[in-house]
């Protein structure tokens, strides 16, 4: 049997994967900054992570805008007369703006006014809004009912877990010589990367039992270059290996923690790339 199809382009290109990666770190660092109000070991990270997350937010925002084919019209997303609340992107835009405002206020309170009480409250608000970032990016994919893998309710959870793990990994790299902070971040990375492992297994399990589109997607995600990236880099090297390394008796050594952090960052980039692109490849065959 032969078939002829016209060539269809995918909807979203790899730049979105970079955006997802960056925004995940933004959220993860906000969680760390908030956690520093409760865990003294993380205190040295409070300002640093707030700064870095804000800088990355700017980078992420620019990436997102540059990826629109009409970049200047991003303002349409903020126009109440245009907003369509059934679109997760509309909620995402509002979430991003609210998060941006909250993090500016947080930085001002904390650094200029040194206002401890309001600082702690704003840290909480910022962290809650930060939680919305991986959730909304997950929903961006989940709502597309006809796409295998995307259309699973665990994608937002996966993105939250990835935000935790990558945020903690960046935190670990930023506080490389602080042994106390490293131990807390080790716990964070261990549990969040563990969650990523469980969710990835769940996703692949359900996908392999699905219909023909799911089967095709499963095949794409587990073979060839995508397979190498997803199973090899994303799952084995970037999620399972760090969990095993951090859990092992040697897991408390700083060098193991730092290597795990690097692997987690690499793995999360690969996972995001494949989860974004593979389910779209199948669609181009329809």
């Amino acid at each position: 049997m032969g078939e002829y199809l016209v060539f269809h382009d995918v909807a979203w290109h790899a730049t979105y994967a970079i955006y997802f990666f960056v925004i995940g770190i933004v959220a993860g660092l906000s969680f760390l900054s908030y956690a520093s109000w409760h865990l003294p070991a993380l205190r040295p990270l409070r300002e640093k992570s707030a700064y870095v997350s804000f800088a990355l937010l700017v980078v992420g925002g620019l990436l997102l805008i540059a990826d629109l084919s009409q970049p200047m019209r991003f303002l349409n997303m903020l126009n109440p007369a245009y907003l369509n609340f059934s679109s997760p992107l509309a909620w995402g835009a509002l979430n991003l703006v609210a998060y941006g405002i909250a993090s500016v206020l947080y930085l001002l309170m904390m650094l200029w006014k040194k206002d401890e009480k309001n600082g702690k409250m704003l840290a909480l608000v910022t962290a809650l809004l930060a939680l919305g970032l991986p959730i909304y990016t997950g929903f961006d994919l989940t709502v597309h009912q006809h796409r295998p893998v995307w259309n699973t309710p665990v994608i937002p959870l996966l993105f939250v877990a990835l935000a935790f793990s990558t945020g903690s990994a960046v935190g670990a790299l930023m506080s490389a010589n602080n042994a106390e902070a490293q131990q807390v971040l080790r716990q964070f990375m261990l549990w969040s990367a563990g969650a990523v492992v469980v969710i990835l297994i769940a996703i692949m399990g359900t996908t392999s039992y699905g219909g023909s589109a799911e089967e095709l997607t499963f095949m794409l995600m587990t073979s060839g270059t995508m397979g190498l990236l997803f199973v090899g880099v994303g799952f084995l090297a970037g999620s399972l290996a760090p969990v095993v390394m951090l859990f092992a008796p040697t897991g408390k050594s700083i060098s193991v923690i730092l290597v795990s952090a690097l692997l987690i960052l690499l793995g999360s980039a690969a996972v995001r790339y494949v989860i974004l692109m593979a389910p779209q490849q199948v669609q181009t065959l329809f």
Partner: protein, 236 residues
């Protein structure tokens, strides 16, 4: 015992005073001449590499008993369109009377959410350079020839179809040709499981030819050379 047909608020099925345009494509009559595709290109100056309507085919059987199955494709102008739900700025919308799903080019931000949401690949991004029109860099798709239909003409593809495989009309009108065809023939829609309630109905479209094959590990012989040539030509 009777119960009213439950429809979502956006649907126009059976709504009095509202038209519900639909196309019936009789695949038994399609000869794969692609005249519809050409007529559409001429009507809209659709750029190279993208199509508002297209005619893919599958070849089945073994030589000498082979058969080509054509499946003319276009936007289904779904009664419950996921592209409309997903557009963050309502740049794509459904026309209440008629059910056309249309684009507001001047509002579209080019986020491609609608492309991701459409289960039928009906949408595409316009390139940045075009010859006769300033409409560039926004998402476009079939309009069911809104500008023609509102002037009592049929869509360009229907007008030109040599096999009379494409028929267009109002499904809410029981006397229309499309109503007759849908009432008297078994019809299929693409991907009914998506709940989009398409307004393009096929006659004689075998489910095996409208879906991915189940036997996915055996590579289908997609015309890779053509696809590769397209990709190369458009630097994709």
């Amino acid at each position: 015992m009777s119960e009213e047909l439950r429809v979502s608020s956006i649907e126009t099925r059976g709504v009095p005073g509202k038209r519900r345009y639909a196309m019936v494509i009789d695949t038994r009559r399609c000869i794969g001449c692609m005249a519809c595709q050409v007529a559409c290109k001429a009507e809209y100056d659709t750029p190279l590499g993208v199509n508002r309507t297209w005619v893919p085919y599958k070849v089945t059987g073994k030589y000498p008993n082979v058969k080509k199955h054509f499946l003319p494709r276009l936007c289904n102008h779904c009664d419950d369109p996921p592209c409309v739900r997903n557009c963050p700025v309502e740049a794509t919308f459904k026309v209440d009377d008629g059910g056309f799903v249309l684009q507001r080019y001047e509002r579209c931000i080019g986020c491609r959410s609608c492309m991701a949401a459409c289960p039928y690949n009906a949408r595409f991004m316009l390139p940045s350079h075009r010859t006769y029109t300033p409409i560039t860099n926004v998402v476009d798709k079939c309009t069911f020839c809104f500008h023609r239909v509102t002037q009592n003409l049929v869509p360009a593809c229907v007008q030109t179809c040599v096999g009379r495989a494409r028929v267009f009309g109002d499904l809410n009108d029981p006397n229309s040709e499309v109503s007759y065809l849908v009432a008297h023939n078994p019809t299929q829609v693409l991907r009914p499981e998506q709940g989009t309630k398409p307004h393009v109905f096929y006659i004689g479209a075998d489910r095996n030819h409208t879906e991915y094959g189940r036997d996915v590990y055996r590579r289908i012989e997609v015309m890779e050379s053509e696809r590769a040539a397209w990709k190369k030509h458009f630097d994709l």
